[in-house]
Amino acid sequence: MKINERFYPILATLAVLALLYGYGIFEHRAFSDTYVLGALLTDNAFLIITAVGMTFVILSGGIDLSVGSMIAFIGVLMAELVTGFGMHPLMAALISLIVGAAFGAFMGVIIAKFDIQPFIITLAGMFFLRGVCFLINLDSVPIDHPFVAAFSGFKVPLPGRGWLTASALLMLATVIGGVVIAHYTRFGRNVYAIGGDRHSAELLGIPVHGTIIRVYTLSGFFSALSGVVFAFYTASAYPLAAVGVELDAIAAVVIGGTLLTGGMGFVMGTFFGGIIMGVIQTLIAFDGSLNSWWTKIMIGALLFGFIVLQRLITRSFSGMRAGAT
């Protein structure tokens, strides 16, 4: 039986991951230890959580540049609520998630109702949120609270020397949640349909505007969640945190095999994409002789490869539609 065309990109992602991990284990004995795995999951947790939200945005054919600023903004907001107002961190987190989702929804409404390029609107969102960070706080501030300490201290041991942190567990839960939303809800399938062919989706009777608004709401929510995790994980807030994370998230989504033009891809792929980026970073750290900028070079090279691969796959589809004039 022929392998379904839809799985080609994610198979490529898995192959790259296996290759990189295999190389790591071959070169450095310590790489096979679960300690590395646990660290990968923890260090990339906030990135992957954001990237899950970004996956929906890209699947719908859009882009969300505001997520990096959102992470910083949520951190600053949390610090203010916990330290300034003496709020319990969980309460602060809840408020943060609502604020994040609301801001996402706001951008979604503008994008859908006024039919404006998401690039422009989320770029505006990116500047706006980054600016608001400085309005609240100019410096790096610690978030001191027993709960935050407990959060960063929480660990589930893995076989071997590794462990799963609370961040990693939250991230895994987010990925599972993302998979369910993407593949087992009508909303999720509608996102794919809109990204695949917006005009057709409209004619098929899909509520396009509503779906797009919900996509940006979801992205706002996930980036806010990522901000919460980041704040708990670092136990501090800094207005200049997470600069450029939006681009890392987009890279994780694309390396994970999601089509930049929308309509095809998997949330699971984004998870692997994020891990691949982490593995590259770890490999370069293990090597010791290479500059950390090599991470960017490797990720750039991977992106080139994946984008060309995407083009080849979409071309095999568009050829079939030559009948349309």
């Binding site: 065309e5 809800t185 989706a201 098929l204 079939m320 004039t325």
Partner: protein
């Protein structure tokens, strides 16, 4: 609120349109059109480009809100706001350019928004089984998990029909469904259409293939220029009458021709010879001579090869056989750029898409072709551009406040004049006009025709494709008649009458 009295079809009629009107700025796209669709019939909706077929369909399906009249489904007036609405009411449409999502699987395309859910989550096993069952009613057995885009257009179209039928459609509108299908695929489609008809569905079939109309339909409604010509029983309507309804008006023949007063042009007799120009699956080889100071009309139904011939001569489609000679010398026709350098010009049928650059100003649009002919390395001085633009605005009577207004803001007739102006400043030898008067209001219509005649007197060779027979009869010195992607006849002088052209088209 019953409008039952209005619909004369009674219980048999599933869809009834009364006095439908749709007006766009400057154009009455649809005017006072009645249309009745019975349960269990296949009803052809025919007309040339711009006759109002697609506008009528868009009004029925809610793409455009109607400006006048009523649409009734089973006797109850409906106001669909968008195609989804119409679908919910039981009116499903399948378009030529399959409107499904190619990146999704076949099953998903069939079941979007209707997936079976368990505990709020989609049950894929049940959804796929439902999709398979829906396809089986059409006798289609394919792997529903593969992406739709990996199947042929024919299968995609059948999937679209399956989706429409599965939505409990009462009315199925098929808009040019056969345009990209081959013979066997068309037969399959017809079998499915007959099956669905026998199950009581009302089917509207839009096509420009007349043999298909006779093969599968029960009744025919003909539109022309946005108005209803009539509804006929297919088997009682000879093909020649049908073509008459589509192209001609049953008026006395217009006899004010210009072919008698030939020879108002005295200048170098340049000739363009088209020899066996053709392309596989697009156009059978065509030969045609064109002379300076002469208008050759290109007549034929939609899809007869009119547009294709124009494009092959202009090089925007590449011919795979034949040559074009200019004064006996072969001309390179690899691309429009080559054609323009050789002195050919084309005003395309679809102004908006292929002709004007809407965002550029009148002046910029006018100098485009001349600049293209001179090459980009020799820019035309601004003053000279202004001169050209002002001259043309005056000469052609282009209604624009000044030469800097974006062309997109002008009316259709004035846009057409800008395109004409563009070619005129580049002083072409041959100018091809594809449907020069389409979508233009009556006043501008006469202007354009007058202009065409003047151009000819100035020594241009003109090739004018049109579906308006009156028009062709009024200005052509010779008429080439196209049918089924082939040139079937050439009429000269006194032979040029609407009747003769229609006879040639109907064979």
């Amino acid at each position: 609120m019953s409008n039952a009295a209005l619909s004369d079809g009674g219980r048999d009629t599933v869809l009834s349109v009364r006095g439908a009107g749709k007006f766009f700025p400057g154009v009455k796209a649809l005017q006072d059109v009645d249309f009745d669709l019975k349960r269990g019939e296949i009803h052809a909706l025919l007309g040339e480009n711009g006759a109002g077929k697609s506008t009528l369909i868009k009004v029925i399906t809610g793409v455009h809100p109607r400006d006048a009249g009523a649409v009734m489904l089973d006797g109850i007036e409906i106001h669909p706001q968008h195609p989804g609405d119409a679908q919910g009411l039981g009116i499903s449409t399948v378009y030529q350019e399959v409107n499904l999502v190619p990146t999704l699987s076949v099953a998903e395309n069939l079941m979007l928004e209707r997936q079976t859910r368990k505990f709020g989550l989609i049950s894929w096993r049940k959804t796929e089984a439902d999709a398979k069952a829906a396809l089986e009613t059409l006798g289609l057995d394919i792997d529903v998990n593969r992406p739709l885009g990996s199947y042929s257009v024919a299968i995609q179209q059948l999937v679209a029909i399956a989706r429409a039928v599965a939505l409990d459609a009462r009315v199925l509108i098929l808009d040019e469904p056969t345009a990209s299908l081959d013979g066997d695929e068309i037969q399959t489609l017809f079998r499915i259409m007959r099956d669905l008809r026998d199950k009581g569905l009302g089917i509207v079939f839009v096509t420009h293939f007349l043999d298909q109309v006779y093969a599968v339909t029960d009744r025919i409604t003909v539109l022309r220029n946005g108005r209803l010509v009539g509804t006929f029983v297919t088997r009682d309507l000879p093909q020649i009458d049908l073509i008459n309804h589509m192209l001609g008006r049953e008026l006395a023949e217009v006899s004010a021709h210009r072919h008698q007063d030939e020879g108002s042009y005295v200048g170098p007799k340049r000739t363009i010879q088209v020899k066996n120009l053709g392309k596989k699956r697009v156009l059978e080889p065509v030969s045609l001579d064109l002379h300076a100071g002469e208008i050759v009309g290109l007549a034929g139904l939609l899809g007869s090869g009119r547009t294709e011939l124009s494009e092959l001569i202009f090089g925007s489609q590449k011919a795979d056989s034949g040559l074009v000679f200019l004064d006996g010398e072969p001309v390179m026709l690899r691309s429009p750029r080559h054609a323009i350098r050789s002195g050919f010009g084309l005003c395309p049928e679809d102004r908006k898409q292929d002709g004007i650059v809407a965002e550029l100003s009148v002046r910029e649009n006018i100098v485009l072709a001349l600049q293209g002919r001179r090459g980009w390395l020799r820019p035309i001085p601004r003053a000279e551009q202004q001169q050209f633009a002002d001259d043309m605005i005056r000469a052609l009577g282009i209604a624009t406040p000044d030469s800097e207004k974006p062309v997109g803001q002008l009316s259709g007739g004035n846009q057409q004049k800008v395109i004409l102006a563009r070619w005129l400043v580049s002083k072409p030898i041959l100018l091809i006009l594809d449907e020069p008067t389409r979508g233009i209001d009556v006043g501008a219509h006469a202007d354009i025709i007058k202009l065409i005649k003047e151009l000819c007197d100035e020594g241009l060779a003109l090739l004018v494709a049109s579906s308006e027979l009156e028009e062709i009869v009024a200005f052509a010195d010779r008429v080439a008649v196209m049918r089924d992607r082939e040139k079937v006849s050439e009429l000269v002088g006194a032979e040029i009458t609407q009747t003769r052209i229609i006879e040639a088209i109907a064979r």
